[in-house]
Amino acid sequence: MTSLSTSSRRRFLKTTTATAALLAGLPKGWVGTAYADDAPETTDMKFGIIALTDCSSIVIAHENGLFKKYGINSVVSKGASWAAIRDALSTGDIQATHMLIGMPIASTMGLGGAPKKPMVIPWLLNRNGQAITLKKSLAGKVAADPKKLKPFVDKAKADGTPLTFAMTFPPGTHAMWIRYWLAAGGIHPGDAVGAGADINLITIPPAQMVANMKVDKMDGFCVGEPWNAKTIADEIGFTATTTQAIWKDHPEKVCAFTAEFADKNPKTVKSVLKALHEASVWLDKMENRTRGATIVGGASYINCPPETILGRLQGKYIFGDGRKLKDRRP
């Protein structure tokens, strides 16, 4: 180390004193190299997630210290259902959340059985990555084409025991995927209260899909990964089709805030988006996906073996009925 000469020390002291005087005049909130103007208004943030692979950007931003980098003290809280997540955001228990793209729209319009609560969605977390699963006994008889399912639906209806299908939330994407797929096969999914339906359509939280199929409560469902892959791993069902085969590159999950929070905390929202941006760039690199699957597979997040999550994250689709696909846009 080079020692400072007396004159150098004097210059150094003069410089640092002047700098200290300048710093003293800065507004509160100066953090490291960030100007006070960039500092978030709210630093303690609780983020909601549902146990799904597409919550990964939020989890990685938390686990890799990216929220911290932008001045946010983050806590990630796993919700039991989409309705619980929506209510927690509406009441302010959580400040931002992983959400189905249709939910903030429904909340803003006052639809879906909850009071009207305007929400904003400044960040799209992912595209694609959902699927329609059918029970194992239909493997080899039905694949991607729902017209092959119709005879089974018709017979069950005539017998007075209609087939049951599940989705995750009425104004959500999975409801749209399963309704569209069934209708494409001439199977009426019913109106908002089920009138006119050829089948029963029920709402089940994502992480409970596999357990409900195991106890024979349903014949098929639409949900995000890894639960379609888990059904195959558990040998109780197979993937009929992926949602990207229904709508290529469709929008899926978002990071939502209430409009009230975003209006009061624009710098906080900006900080969150910067962290999600970095997490998304990290996750987008194929070489990081093994590590990513290990992190999000943990008990406090998805609680699923990483090897079950990883395959479809890498675009390697094994449908469970003999079909395989290398999907370039998993």
């Binding site: 084409d145 494409a184 229904i246 941006h277």
Partner: protein
């Protein structure tokens, strides 16, 4: 709009084969395509 890690190929109006084997052609008759759906209304 900027999308991370995804190179968008720009708009395409090429025919596309869908999950059930049917073909959607953006240049074809849209009315006929819509009328071809087995279920046309979710009204009960």
């Amino acid at each position: 709009m900027k999308e991370i890690g995804y190179k968008h190929g720009g708009p395409s109006d090429k025919p596309e084969k869908l999950f059930d084997g049917s073909v959607f052609d953006p240049k074809a008759d849209m009315e006929a395509y819509a009328a071809s759906f087995a279920v046309k209304s979710i009204k009960g």
